[in-house]
């Protein structure tokens, strides 16, 4: 049985990763789990310059979910290289750097700064940022813009390049096709949905910046559906994410068409949950005679019992 996953020129040893923004830079979790059991760590978003992020409150709980408006607070690429890479480099798991910017150059510059570092396995491009050059519309809601930025990034790296898709669109498959045309090696599906919670006693939005990104088990059915849709629209791999808490949830994504998965918000609830999911998937594959991850794609709705 083979748990490995090929993405572009890279190989992940197993399909289970931990999502950007929910795992810091790995260090904090070393106390409660074995990081080497992960297929990949997707770092907190990295931008050229350090960012303070948004005012607080940045977080509010919702039914089976949460909103966050961290505002991509991060240490900036230089400090990431000096302070965070050394720890990540010592792990037996792929470091995928989540990249953000407000112009296309920004994105490319982060990649250029990191591309020579051997232990940077690849990139995941976070497009839920306003494009300041295009009047602030989000990079991730326009297929042509996705294609263009992907093409530009493809020009500066040969490492695995994943484009993270926003679910706040009418047709996510079209966005995925844009990424594929631009030369992405994979798409990540899905980022958070925009939501709002109002404190009725204070007559204010709870989140200081009014809206935040909805994540957690509440959005899992949306993530699974979009993964199903996207994986049928493109031929590059899909990395499924949204509301995964255990092996069964991860298997839903694999059966929907994903080749790999990420655990996000659930890391806050059960910090060690991700380490067991790869073993759980292996166990399921053994029981169902599935030899490799690629074989999941054909299983859904064969209706063998119908």
């Amino acid at each position: 049985m083979d748990l490995s996953v090929r993405i572009g020129k890279g190989v992940l040893k197993n399909p289970v990763g931990v999502a950007s923004g929910t795992f810091g830079y790995g260090q904090e979790f070393a106390q409660v789990m074995d990081l080497d059991k992960l297929g990949a760590i997707y770092t907190k978003a990295i931008s050229m310059e350090p960012r303070r992020g948004n005012p607080t409150p940045r977080i509010v709980e919702t039914p089976s979910g949460m909103l966050n408006s961290i505002g991509l607070a991060n240490v900036g690429v230089e400090k990431f290289v000096t302070d965070k890479i050394p720890f990540l480099a010592g792990l037996d798991t792929a470091t995928v750097v989540n990249v953000v910017g407000t112009t296309m150059d920004d994105y490319c510059n982060v990649i250029k700064r990191l591309d020579d570092i051997d232990t940077v396995w690849g990139y995941e491009i976070n497009l839920s940022c306003p494009n300041v050059e295009a009047g602030g519309i989000q990079f991730g809601t326009d297929a042509a813009m996705i294609e263009e930025i992907t093409t530009r990034m493809r020009g500066v790296t040969e490492k695995p390049l994943m484009v993270k898709l926003s679910p706040n669109v009418t047709d996510i498959a079209e966005m995925a096709r844009g990424a594929e045309r631009g030369g992405a090696d994979a798409v990540t599906c899905i980022n958070t949905l925009v939501g709002m919670v109002i404190d009725t006693a204070r007559q204010q939005t709870v989140i200081a910046r009014k809206t935040g990104g909805l994540s957690g088990p509440a959005i899992r059915p949306i993530g699974v559906r979009m993964t199903h849709e996207v994986s049928r629209a493109i031929s590059i791999p899909v990395v499924g994410i949204g509301g995964i808490t255990n092996t069964d949830d991860a298997l839903q994504y694999l059966l929907a068409g994903a080749k790999a998965v990420q655990v996000g918000t659930w890391n806050f609830v059960e910090p060690a949950a991700s380490q067991d999911i790869a073993a759980g998937i292996a166990d399921y594959m053994a029981r169902h005679g599935i030899a490799r991850i690629d074989d999941f794609a054909a299983l859904l709705d064969r209706r063998k019992d119908g």
Binding site: G24, P57, R58, T62, S64, M66, I70, A73, V269, A272
Partner: protein
């Protein structure tokens, strides 16, 4: 720091407003220090989803039992209040730093508002046991909400009520102001309670040139330093995380707006 499923050993109301829960906490989970907290999860459901942070109100190393004083606010504390001895909860900790940032002080005035009482009594008992002078000041809205006085047994404690129905009439800072200056000379203030109370205590400390350690509350998602949700601003403009850089801060380093 450990993540464990533990048994509740006691869970009872100690006032119309407060409950106290006790639960197993093996020594090898790490010894809780006053000011530190843990993240509690009511299992079996995703609503509530996130764990909730609570400060330890005591630890008994012989029985290996930790305690926490809480108030029913929302879903999670409601569910906790229904947990009976023998049932389990999940706890992750000890987390964060502890009171006594700068070594154990000689003379302490420990100020509590609301459920801030839990960690304040824990700190006061600890400091008294180490031989320092300690005085507790605890504020309540009205006499009926004052818990069983056994809670602060053996500690010099001043009770304040906002409505004057018992003890000192006024809030905890009014009380501090009413003390003879000598009582506070060279004292370290420790404070735990709602933000406005912490701010007032900080201002008072500034006026008197006292060091003041505050326990800060902010919404937390992870409690582990990774989500960057729980930040507060320092006077120097840096954003720091309450969960891992705190929850105890020298009030002088924070930006009080």
């Amino acid at each position: 720091m450990q993540d464990q499923t533990v048994r509740v050993t006691a869970n009872r109301a100690i006032s119309p407003d407060f409950l106290e829960v006790e639960f197993e906490w093996r020594r090898d989970f790490g010894l809780p220090a006053p000011g530190q907290f843990f993240e509690l999860r009511i299992t079996e459901t995703t609503a509530p989803l996130l764990r909730r942070p609570y400060a330890f109100s005591g630890y008994d190393p012989d029985r290996q039992v930790a305690a926490m004083v809480y108030q029913v606010r929302g879903q999670s504390t409601q569910m906790l209040a229904r947990r009976e001895p023998g049932q389990t909860v999940r706890v992750l900790g000890p987390l964060g730093n502890a009171f006594g940032l700068d070594g154990r002080p000689e003379k302490v005035v420990a100020v509590a508002g609301g459920v801030g009482l839990g960690p304040i009594l824990f700190a006061a008992r600890d400091i008294a046991a180490a031989g320092s002078a300690v005085r507790v000041v605890a504020g309540f809205r009205t006499r009926d909400l004052i818990p069983d006085r056994g809670l602060w047994h053996g500690l010099e404690t001043a009770v304040c009520t906002d409505d004057g129905s018992e003890g000192f009439a006024g809030n905890v800072v009014d009380h501090l102001r009413s003390l003879p200056a000598a009582d506070l000379d060279g004292a370290r203030l420790l404070a735990c309670g709602p933000m406005p109370m912490l701010a007032a205590t900080h201002r008072f400390a500034q006026e008197r040139g006292l060091v003041c350690e505050v326990s800060v509350e902010e919404m937390m998602a992870c409690g582990l330093g990774v989500c960057v949700g729980c930040v507060v601003e320092r006077a120097d403009g840096e954003m720091v995380r309450v969960c891992t850089d705190g929850p105890i801060f020298d009030s002088g380093v924070l930006a009080w707006t």
